[in-house]
Amino acid sequence: MFTFTIRRLILTVPTLLFISFVIFMIVKLSPSDPTGNLPLTIPSEVREQIREALGVNKPLIVQYGLWLKQFFWLEPRIYLEHAFGWDMGTAGEVRLISYQTRSPVMELIMQRMPQTLMVVGTAYLVGTLIALPIGIISAYKQYSVFDQLGTLVSMIGFSVPPFFSGVLVIVLFSVMIPSDSFFWLPSIYDTTHEVTDWESFKYQFRQMIMPVMVLALQITAQISRFTRASMLDNLNQDYVRTARAKGLKEQTVVLVHVLRNSMIPVVTVIALGIPSIFGGAIITEQVFKVNGLGQLLIIAIQGGDVPTVQTLTFIFAILIVLFNLIADVLYGILDPRIRYD
């Protein structure tokens, strides 16, 4: 297993290099101008100078090399310096700068990461925790009222997009319910809100309810269906009959024997879904004004902010490659029949 992991880790290097090249080239091919959003009063010579300063007139391959160097060499050193107070000689080096805000791209990402992790991460956790029991019970009581209800909820979760369900809950809980009511919920997520005491924690909780609800519905729909299917596959296996013939309690049969086998594919699906926490909530973040990574990406695309777009995209790619590897390793750990070495 260990050699397998190391080998796979080494293999990620060429994979990521290739992905980074494709991302870089595709973004560069788009006809966007970093000075396009600047006031029209700026004369064209000045615009040219700005382009020159940003390095967009250099040959593509040089720009690509510089980006890689900044991403893999400069930025990690800067964060190490921040974290441990070392001096790694990064002073004076030019960081990857956003065209729009003129601040380092990585700083922008770091500012927005907590909101995204808070909202989308919570939604993923809540969605998964709800989905597992629903899937297990639905499979065990196949075609029961509970199963039918679960199927209905999943169907809604699959088919209703967050730009609809998001607006719907806003209309219900922020507009139709009076703002002094206990059930009223804020429709705008306040990022500057800080949790210092019980009251502020309650407010934080309230403002998270709607976006988490909208996202968790989708996540629950997917994972509960997947869990149900996997449980059904296993419930009719011979080893389940053996477990019953051994006189084990029904609870043990289902929650130990069947569940342990059913969880193998489910756990890997859950792991594969984690990268989407970082990038997948673009629409929901927009609806609830959560200024997270999804929103940053939208703004960057609209503003032709090439460094931000390519860096964000590349980070998503890294996460996806990484969690694919984690899913494979988990598979090997959970299923004793699989040995990679």
């Binding site: 296996q237 011979d238 080893y239 009959r241 053996t242 477990a243 019953r244 013939a245 051994k246 006189g247 084990l248 309690k249 029904e250 043990t252 024997h257 342990r260 086998n261 193998i264 959970l334 299923d335 004793p336 029949r337």
Partner: protein, 339 residues
């Protein structure tokens, strides 16, 4: 062929008039129809019949292993040392399964849980039924593995099912079934999925274990050769009912039911002249949509006469602990008198 022990012991398992019906979308299927049999301590009862004759369903009905729905046990009595398992509550029945009645299944490749090591799987019934601690159960599990002839038992407890061969897995299954010293061991075609040499090893093992442990064994198979080798008594099933029952030697020498006769003729002979082709019984076993009112074998029977179409024969004693459910009297060479 071993001779049966003298029938002085009280039956450990006594099944009377067991009826099991499956409810399906296209109606009911009467899979087990008034099956009665018993088995005494230390006795090995062979159950034969072709696929679909109700052998496995009968045995699964005894200990509540059939999922309900679709299965519905309509009536009868299953007495295990006087305790009626059909009347017992779910928890009592659960403690009988794996505790007092052990079960071995056909396919050892899929009957063990792939994600738990065999030690865990053997220890489970020990901890559930005998209340053993982990350490005690592990010691006993190692003993059991040695008992069923798996070398290096202590180390192998940590191995997973996929690290064992088919025969070895069936030995593990036997170890699980024997874990709590059951009074009855039900083996549902335990050697069908194994190749012949392994089959012989498993048969030897079971014979040996029966002598050592003295439990009653019910051995389901469709292989008459296996039955001849190990059973004390044989029960032949057809269409969800027992059509003939006799001590093994008596059954092979003096079959009293046309189905048993036909079955015996299908055994290919290795001695003497090779026949042109293998004997077969033409046709298919019936799927019974209702409780049978006529002999279930009549469609494939060469001795059929009027009475077979209107009445379902009950088992008639032929002496020597032998009985058969047929209106034709082979000794007299003609139909029995009505009544």
């Amino acid at each position: 062929m071993p001779d049966g022990p003298a029938p002085v012991l009280e039956a450990v398992l006594d099944v009377r008039d067991l009826k099991t019906v499956f409810k399906t979308r296209s109606g009911e299927v009467h899979a087990v129809n008034d099956v009665s049999f018993d088995v005494r301590p230390g006795e090995l009862l062979g159950v034969v019949g072709e696929s679909g004759s109700g052998k496995s369903v009968t045995m699964m009905s005894l200990i509540g292993l059939l999922p309900s729905p679709p299965a519905d046990i309509r009536g009868g009595q299953v007495l295990l040392d006087g305790l009626d398992l059909l009347q017992a509550d779910a928890d009592t029945l659960r403690r009988v399964r794996g505790g007092r009645i052990g079960f071995i299944f056909q396919d050892p490749m899929t009957s063990l849980n792939p994600v738990f090591n065999v030690g865990y799987q053997i220890m489970e019934p020990l901890r559930t039924h005998m209340g053993m601690t982990k350490a005690q159960a592990r010691l006993r599990a190692a003993e059991l593995l040695e008992l069923v002839g798996i070398p290096d038992a202590n180390r192998r407890l940590k191995d997973y099912p996929h690290q064992f061969s088919g025969g070895m897995r069936q030995r593990v299954m036997i170890a699980i079934a024997l874990a709590c010293d059951p009074q009855v061991l039900i083996a549902d075609e335990p050697t069908t999925a194994l190749d012949v040499t392994i089959q012989a090893q498993i048969l030897e093992l079971v014979k040996e274990l029966r002598e050592k442990l003295g439990m009653a064994i019910i051995w389901i198979t469709h292989d008459l050769g296996v039955i001849a080798g190990i059973a004390d008594r044989v029960m032949v099933m057809y269409g969800g009912q027992v059509v003939e029952q006799a001590p093994t030697r008596e059954l092979f020498n003096n079959p009293q039911h046309p189905y048993t006769r036909a079955l015996l003729q299908t055994i290919p002979s290795v001695r003497g002249e090779r026949p042109e082709k293998l004997n077969v019984i033409e046709g298919q076993p019936p799927i019974l949509g209702a409780a049978p009112t006529a002999c279930p074998f009549r469609a494939r029977c060469g001795y059929r006469f009027d009475r077979c179409d209107t009445e379902n024969p009950s088992r008639i004693s032929a002496g020597n602990g032998h009985d058969a459910a047929c209106f034709y009297d082979f000794d007299a060479g003609g139909p029995r008198n009505a009544g």
